[in-house]
């Protein structure tokens, strides 16, 4: 879909996904790595736990469909070579600290002199301006400052961030959207522009309306309410994540007419249990009016549901709920996800062959399905400088001798 565009990806892990979705959609995307390889190649997990810049699964995941060249843009020679690439490029994606590109004479003002059509997409922790522009970020710092962390975890424990770092992916994807808007806009205004993306804003956008909204309207500061809390849907103190025999399931009890059929089905299912969970044979979730429910009655319902879920496996509960039109889902691990039937049925997964590893690896496929993407082939992530020859010799017209000299000088 985006075959006509060339993207130069100067970014580290903060921007890798931005360039990857463009590459997934067909853009000719070149990762420009520093000689020796991009720093994000050090991020695990690793293929068979061998710590090696060519075996990072993080690298594999976020750099597929790209080409790789090596270039030290901090040297004057490197900058001259980069400028040649800029002439034929449409988009540059970068995630250096603000000011770094300027010190390389490659900031937007310089780049647009070389190519007025160029779109420069910057992805940083805090953005290109403002009091925090030079602040150092990290995954944890972003979870903290965005407001997500304060409300995650139990009230009597410290605020909690996800154990798997991925906050910067929000910034990368917002940047991808900004870049696409700029590319479309270029058709109208006839020139490129600068896209300034802040990972802080991208993650703050993820916080729910009850954070700033409730504070503004009612002066209420949202707290870490923990797993067992008064649920907005039912007004009952209960979890959304329930323990079951072999893990957890997610289920939200919601009253009201659109859920009465599901609530009736669940009530009947619970009543059919042997040994019985409920003594009262008139137990019926569908007819409860939450406004008139006492705390004690609420606690009773919570106990009944807890006991019911605890007796069964994720699979049993999920299948049973599907049959009955009840919305319940198992908490899935990555291993569970690999064999989830719906994803297989839709052909979500792709197998990519890595000749160096002599192995096929299963990857998540396209983030969306459309006929326009169907015909495209996936490429595994590139090796360090794998396409140096293609780009420098075949395209820019360097002689093999020149390329070798630049390699010896650690510029390429």
């Amino acid at each position: 879909m985006l075959e006509c565009y060339r993207v130069l990806d100067l970014s580290d892990e903060k921007g890798a996904l931005c360039a990857r979705v463009m590459a997934d959609f067909g853009a000719d995307t070149i990762k420009v790595e520093r000689p020796g390889g991009d720093s994000s190649r050090k991020i695990g997990p690793f293929y068979k736990d061998v710590v090696d810049p060519e075996k990072s699964l993080h690298w594999f995941a976020f750099n597929r469909n790209k080409k790789s060249i090596t270039l030290d843009i901090k040297t004057p020679e490197g900058q001259e070579i980069f400028k040649k690439l800029v002439k034929k490029a449409d988009v540059i994606i970068e995630s250096y600290d603000p000011g770094v590109l300027e010190s390389c004479n490659l900031d937007y003002l310089n780049l647009k002199q070389i190519n007025p059509n160029i779109i420069l997409t910057s992805i940083t922790n805090f953005g290109q301006k403002g009091p925090y522009r030079n602040y150092k970020g990290s995954d944890l710092v972003l979870w903290a400052i965005s407001g997500m962390m304060y409300v995650t975890g139990e009230p009597d424990e410290p605020p909690l961030a996800p154990s798997y770092p991925h906050s910067y992916l929000f910034g990368a994807m917002q940047a991808a959207i900004g870049t696409m808007i700029a590319l479309y806009h270029r058709r109208i205004i006839g020139r490129g522009q600068h896209v300034d993306t802040s990972a802080q804003m991208a993650l703050t956008w993820v916080t729910q309306p009850d954070l700033v909204g409730l504070y503004e309207w009612f002066g209420k500061v949202a707290q870490r309410a923990g797993r067992i809390r008064v649920q907005p849907f039912s007004g009952i103190k209960m979890p959304i994540l329930w323990e079951c025999q072999d893990g957890h399931v997610a289920y939200a009890l919601i009253f009201g007419s659109s859920f009465s059929q599901a609530n009736r089905a669940l009530s009947e299912w619970i009543l059919s249990e042997a040994p019985p969970i409920v003594e009262d044979r008139t137990f019926q979730l569908a007819t409860i009016s939450p406004e008139r429910l006492s705390e004690e009655q609420g606690a009773k319902i919570t106990n009944i549901l807890s006991e019911f879920f605890r007796r069964h496996t994720k699979k049993y509960l999920f299948e049973g709920c599907l049959e009955r039109g009840i919305q319940l889902y198992p908490a899935m691990s990555p291993m569970d996800t690999l064999v989830f039937e719906q994803l297989q049925e839709r052909g979500y997964w792709v197998e990519l062959y890595h000749p160096e590893l002599e192995d096929h690896i299963k990857y998540p496929g396209y983030p969306v399905q459309t006929d326009v993407l169907k015909a495209m082939r996936f490429m595994r992530a590139p090796l360090i400088g794998e396409h140096n020859n293609d780009i420098y010799v075949d395209e820019l017209g360097m002689t093999p001798g020149q390329l070798e000299a630049l390699q010896n000088d650690h510029i390429i």
Partner: protein, 405 residues
């Protein structure tokens, strides 16, 4: 008008709640003409969710609706259970360049508004359809809430203390991931159509899109046959790495030290107390091994300072640090203010509100127009007169036949 990239783009929006609305927001912010179709009896579900302004329920008074729709959209109520309602929807689908919907699979087909039908009357149409599991497969018609899809996708499995089981990654988390891929794909499709004249149908499964964020863990499972282990706020590439209690009630500052250089900077901020000279802390591996005692020593220092003081002192020395922001902190955050991330606008029914969010990026040559949310059915007449070119007799006939109910 050249600062409006989508000024000539026409969008027919059948979406409701989070994901679909977030996708359409990008188009509306940057100049598209958007018609949001609702139904009086079943309006956008976020209109009907408390809290309401001053606690008074009303179709235009919900916080969730205002918060999810800070973009300029026209609003039309249409009863798609009437033939004439469907006929109007079809005429608007011919007018539109883009049609977006977020019902469970099969709903649009029920009304005769599926992709094949729309393509027959508007061959170049771009349609984006999003639901939990996509348009095909056994689960296509099974709905979910953002909360439960977050669990299914595995985000609760990666949030927890080492021995403590799962935690909710708060809120309808995946509702904020899927629209990023949907928004990107839709704008790419609009660009593609501009170049080729070809439309397409985009099927966005919110589950499939959300899993993209967990790609390395899915590869880890596929290759190394294992699941990620939770380690609270620890990071095996950094120590100290966590949140530290500060002065005040439930106040915290996050600090993460990845390099020896950052470690030295931290020691300097603390004034090099004797314990920092302990040789076990000299290297990252040692700091990681003894991280719990290290944390306690650092917390002795942070607990005497405010979270803001800790952040500023650490950052000034080059150590990544950030306060654990509450909603009050977000409103007061000087960096967000610099970018005007939150916008204050006068809503015609609920008055001035300041929580209207802007896109998390800035384009140097195009400004996003942040707006108050659409008022239910406000543009029924305008659309009938100016887009459908109906006479006032025709409009009142349609009203009599409950087409706008």
């Amino acid at each position: 008008m050249s600062d409006k990239p989508f000024k000539d783009l026409k969008v027919l929006d059948f979406t409701w709640a989070g994901v679909g609305s977030f996708i359409v927001n990008y188009l509306a912010w940057y100049g598209a003409t958007v018609i949001k179709i609702e139904n009086v009896k079943r309006p956008d579900i976020t209109r009907c969710s408390p809290p309401y302004k001053e606690g008074k329920p009303g179709m235009n008074r919900s916080l969730f609706f205002s918060w999810t729709h800070p973009a300029k959209k026209m609003d039309m109520t249409l009863n798609l259970n009437t033939e004439k309602g469907i006929a109007i929807a079809k005429r608007l689908a011919v007018w539109a360049d883009v049609v977006v919907e977020s019902f469970v699979a099969g709903t649009m087909e029920k009304w005769g508004l599926g992709y094949d039908e729309l393509k027959a009357i508007n061959p170049e149409v771009i349609m984006l359809r999003t639901c939990t599991h996509g348009q095909t497969g056994r689960l296509a018609k099974q709905p979910a809430l953002g909360f439960t899809l977050t669990t299914l996708s595995g985000f609760n499995n990666i949030t927890g203390w080492p021995e403590g089981g799962l935690n909710e990654l708060r809120g309808a988390y995946t509702d904020f991931i899927a629209p990023l891929f949907g928004g990107f794909a839709l704008i790419a499709a609009v660009d593609y159509k501009e170049r080729t004249g070809k439309g397409q149908c985009i099927d966005l499964s919110q589950h499939e899109a959300s899993l993209q964020f967990l790609s390395p863990l899915l590869l880890d499972a596929a290759v190394n046959k294992r699941n990620h282990k939770n380690n609270g706020n620890d990071c095996d590439r950094a120590a100290p790495h966590g949140v530290f209690r500060c002065k005040g009630e439930d106040r915290w500052c996050a600090i993460s030290v990845f390099s020896d250089e950052q470690w030295m900077a931290l020691c300097k901020v603390l004034g090099f107390p004797d314990w920092t000279k302990d040789s076990r802390y000299k290297r990252k591996e040692g700091r990681y091994e003894f991280r719990r005692e290290l944390d306690m020593k650092i917390e002795e220092w942070t607990s005497r300072k405010t979270a803001e003081e800790v952040m500023v002192e650490m950052q000034t020395a080059g150590v990544p640090a950030g306060i654990v922001s509450t909603s009050k902190d977000l409103v007061e955050d000087p960096q967000l203010k610099q970018y005007h991330f939150y916008n204050t606008l006068e809503h015609p029914e609920i008055g001035e509100c300041s929580f209207f969010q802007s896109p998390p990026f800035r384009l140097s040559d195009a400004a996003a127009e942040i707006s108050t949310p659409p008022i239910l059915g406000k543009h029924n007449n305008y659309i009938c007169e100016h887009i459908l070119n109906l006479s006032s007799e025709e409009i009142s006939d349609l009203k009599d036949q409950q087409v706008f109910d």
